[in-house]
């Protein structure tokens, strides 16, 4: 009897729980093949956005760099000319670099941005093998223009 009570019954009970759970949906995702949908206000990798006409929203004002508590943003600005127009108005960013090793993803840069150019989006896969690779340049941060996105 002791064997029945101490071994067989718990086994049946355990299998019962297992069989009950078999019907539930799975919380574990098969990362990296599957990725979990991020919360709407998740703050991960920065993106420099564009206007609908393809011009960059960033005007190189460096307010993000001023607001950054980790001082991980470096902005170099330049003047727009008729031949080389990157953004509306007089000024654009020539260099825009974020040191992702320093970034604490606080989102203050997004708050400070007067044109809504820098936004923190849901791409969280930021690991890399080389420290140099963590300096995200303007080319890496800038989202592709609408015309190129459809391709």
């Amino acid at each position: 009897m002791a064997i029945l009570d101490k071994i067989v019954k718990p086994m049946i009970a355990g299998l019962g729980i297992t069989s009950k759970r078999l019907g539930h949906s799975r919380p574990t995702v098969m990362y990296p093949e599957d990725k979990r949908e991020q919360f709407p206000r998740t703050r991960w990798r920065h993106v420099l956005t564009r206007h609908d006409d393809g011009l960059e929203k960033c005007i190189g004002c460096s307010l993000c760099a001023g607001a950054c508590p980790a001082r991980c943003i470096y902005v170099d600005a330049g003047e727009n000319t008729e031949e080389n127009r990157l953004s509306p108005g007089e000024r654009h960013a020539v260099r825009y670099e974020i040191n992702m090793l320093r970034c604490i993803f606080c989102g203050y840069c997004q708050d400070a941005c007067p044109t809504g150019a820098i936004v923190l989006r849901k791409d969280f896969e930021l690991a890399n093998y080389d420290r140099e690779e963590f300096i995200f340049t303007k080319e890496m941060l800038l989202e592709p223009a609408l015309s190129e996105r459809s391709k």
Partner: protein, 644 residues
């Protein structure tokens, strides 16, 4: 200056606090004695008040001397145009004033574009600051703003943005009252009023950079700094401008090891708060792509990169005895001059170490009786043989300030009319080369008629100027004709032969100059009589000597060592070359034209393997004669009695 007891004071009441202040002081200044601040735009302590912006409104009233009752005025008054008087009552904080200030700012902001994110003034802008502290949070103005010219290049240095202008007239008053060129003025009326040069000509003032700094908005911005950085990107350090001998105090703004801009740093004894354009915009050589980064040594026809040890060995082999010479620039640090003298004469045994390219430059310290600040108090000033605005810009501003504020009588004697002649009581334009004759006429050593005829000046004019110049403070430079300088020095008044090289004064004090002068060394080198020549911190092609002579000297000297911060033209003739740090990359001290020795700290890292010149001399010196070398610039200065 009047003694403190001579100043008449009046009793005023500021925010209920009784205060005795000098009679006639403006309210905006008087309240600062209590640590209060009145918001301002158009008011500037060094300019005359105009009361244009209405930002400084305060409530005023009078205290009745009989019964002590206070009667307030019904409306606020501008603090910047109101001098204090006995019994004046001022309120700087009240609900009504808060509303007034909000109203004034709302009006100012109606036509202000609010493009702060791209404005170079953003972050250090008085309009931003005042709006934050006193202004409305939002605007009720929903109509189209006034549109006007943006980013108009007023000159090579100044950009004008008329949309941002709030018509405070600070720039206009600066050109009228301080620099004296009066190039800016208001055009049009009402809504269209804006400052501009006459007929939109180029703004050629030699002090144009100052209007950028005094502009309370971003209407006048620095073309060289345009979009280079924002104020919070910059690191700023105290520095001294070494583009001329005035030694203006500056803020050296740098970012990632590169100089970005220069701003004036207030020093009442030297530059007050002004800079000249040569200083404010002339620091590009720090970022020059021709900076010399490594030592070079010649192999055959080619200069090839080498290391210090190789170059040191070659130098010590080539330089010994009086058959060698060293030419120093006039803008090196005192430490460089001291160590160079000790090393070259003491260790290598040559007396030919000098900085003088002009035969007029005398050996030893030139006579300087007046400090820069004391020039504005002179009764009569004789400016002789120099173009002050070019040679000594800050001295020019002082002389002009003396004329503008105290009525100093200025007499100008020079070879062409310049900025000084605009306000000089007498201008004598003599024929070039006749300085000595006209100086003798001032001293009464030649007859006025003879001098007038010889110098090409009308006799009555010369006579009037000589009469007026009795006992005058003479201002000239060390490059003035030697004979003329001796004559003028013997006159009754003070005599000032200001050096024009950035640290020429330091060179005068530190170098013995008992061998061949730089000019004589070059002549000797041209004849092939000099076995080795060492050129430190000067491009021989830019000192005003004929090119052929310089080339002949450089080609006929057996061994040429060049120590410089840039690959100058001289560099390409070198047998060996050493890179040198610039003033902001090294600790050092510099003595300005009036004799004030100012310290400068290393601000930015040196380029490549560049070393301070004094360190090179010390390293060479211990190779000749082992001893404990100086390791810091301050130790060197302390060791030199001339700078004690």
């Amino acid at each position: 200056m009047a003694a403190a007891t001579d100043i008449q004071t009046v009793n005023i009441i500021v925010n209920g606090i009784e205060l005795a202040v000098p009679k006639g002081e403006l309210v905006v200044e008087a309240v600062k004695r209590l640590g209060l601040e009145i918001p301002i735009f158009c008011y500037h302590p060094r300019l005359k008040p105009v009361g244009m912006c209405r930002m400084c409104l305060v409530e005023t009233g009078m205290k009745n001397p009989q019964d002590g009752t206070i009667r307030m005025m019904p409306k606020p008054a501008a603090a910047c145009t109101l001098p204090v008087s006995e019994g004046l009552v001022i309120n700087t904080e009240s609900d009504a004033l808060k509303k007034d200030r909000k109203g004034v700012l709302e009006f100012l902001l109606i036509n202000h574009p609010l493009d702060c994110p791209i404005c170079d003034r953003g972050g250090e802008c008085p309009l931003q600051n005042n709006t934050l502290f006193y202004g409305p949070a939002t605007s009720r103005f929903i109509e189209q703003k006034r549109h006007n010219v943006k980013a108009y290049p007023l000159s090579d240095y100044v950009t004008l943005d008329l949309e941002r202008c709030i018509q405070c007239a600070r720039c206009i008053r600066f050109t009228e009252e301080i620099s004296g060129d009066s190039q800016l003025a208001f055009r049009f009326r009402g809504n269209k009023t804006h400052p501009i040069t006459f007929n939109e000509t180029k703004f050629t003032s030699k002090f144009s950079g100052n209007v950028i700094e005094i502009c309370p908005v971003g209407a006048l911005t620095n073309r060289k700094y345009r979009f280079r950085a924002r104020p919070w990107d910059l690191q700023t350090s105290e520095a001294v401008c070494l583009n001329c001998s005035n030694g203006c105090n500056i803020w050296f703004d740098h970012r990632a090891g590169k100089v970005v801009r220069i701003n004036a740093r207030t020093n009442e004894a030297i530059n007050e708060e002004w800079t000249c354009d040569k200083g404010k915009f002339g620091h590009d050589y720090y970022n020059d792509e021709k900076r010399l980064e490594t030592p070079f040594a010649r192999t055959g026809d080619e200069l090839q990169k080498a290391d210090y040890a190789t170059v040191y060995a070659k130098l010590l082999e080539a330089f010994h005895g009086d058959n060698t010479g060293m030419i120093l620039g006039d803008s090196l640090s005192n430490e460089t001059y001291i160590t160079a003298q000790n090393f070259f004469t003491g260790q290598l045994g040559s007396h030919n170490i000098d900085y003088r390219f002009s035969a007029n430059q005398a050996k030893g310290a030139s006579t300087v009786d007046n400090s820069i600040a004391s020039l504005e108090l002179a009764k009569t000033t004789l400016v002789f043989g120099t173009h002050l605005a070019d040679d000594l810009p800050i001295v020019f501003l002082r002389v002009r300030k003396g004329w503008f504020n105290q009525g100093t009588q200025v007499i100008l004697a020079t070879d062409r009319s310049d900025e000084v002649s605009e306000f000089a009581a007498h201008t004598l334009v003599y024929k070039p080369g006749t300085e000595a004759t006209i100086a003798k006429a001032f001293a009464g050593q030649v007859s006025v008629a003879d001098a007038a005829a010889k110098c090409g000046i009308s006799e009555p004019e010369l006579q009037a100027a000589i009469t007026a110049a009795a006992g005058a403070t003479v201002i000239t430079t060390t490059s003035l004709n030697h004979e003329a300088a001796e004559v003028l020095k013997a006159l009754d008044g003070n005599f000032n032969a200001y050096p024009t090289g950035a640290n020429e004064r330091g060179a005068q004090l530190a170098l013995a100059c008992d061998g061949l002068s730089a000019l004589e060394q070059l002549k000797k080198a041209a004849n092939g009589e000099l076995s080795a020549l060492w050129v430190v911190g000067v491009d021989l092609f830019s000192v005003g000597l004929p090119r052929e002579e310089v080339i002949r000297a450089l080609e006929n000297v057996d061994f040429l060592a060049v120590q410089d911060s840039r690959r100058t033209e001289t560099f390409y003739y070198a047998s060996v070359a050493l890179p040198m740090t610039l003033p902001a990359e090294q600790d050092g001290s510099y003595t300005n034209c009036e004799g004030t020795t100012q310290q400068m700290k290393a601000i930015i890292p040196p380029v490549g393997q560049a070393k301070p010149a004094w360190r090179v001399f010390e390293e060479l010196s211990i190779r000749v004669n082992p001893r404990m070398p100086f390791s810091q610039a301050s130790e060197i200065l302390a060791s030199a009695p001339a700078f004690a």
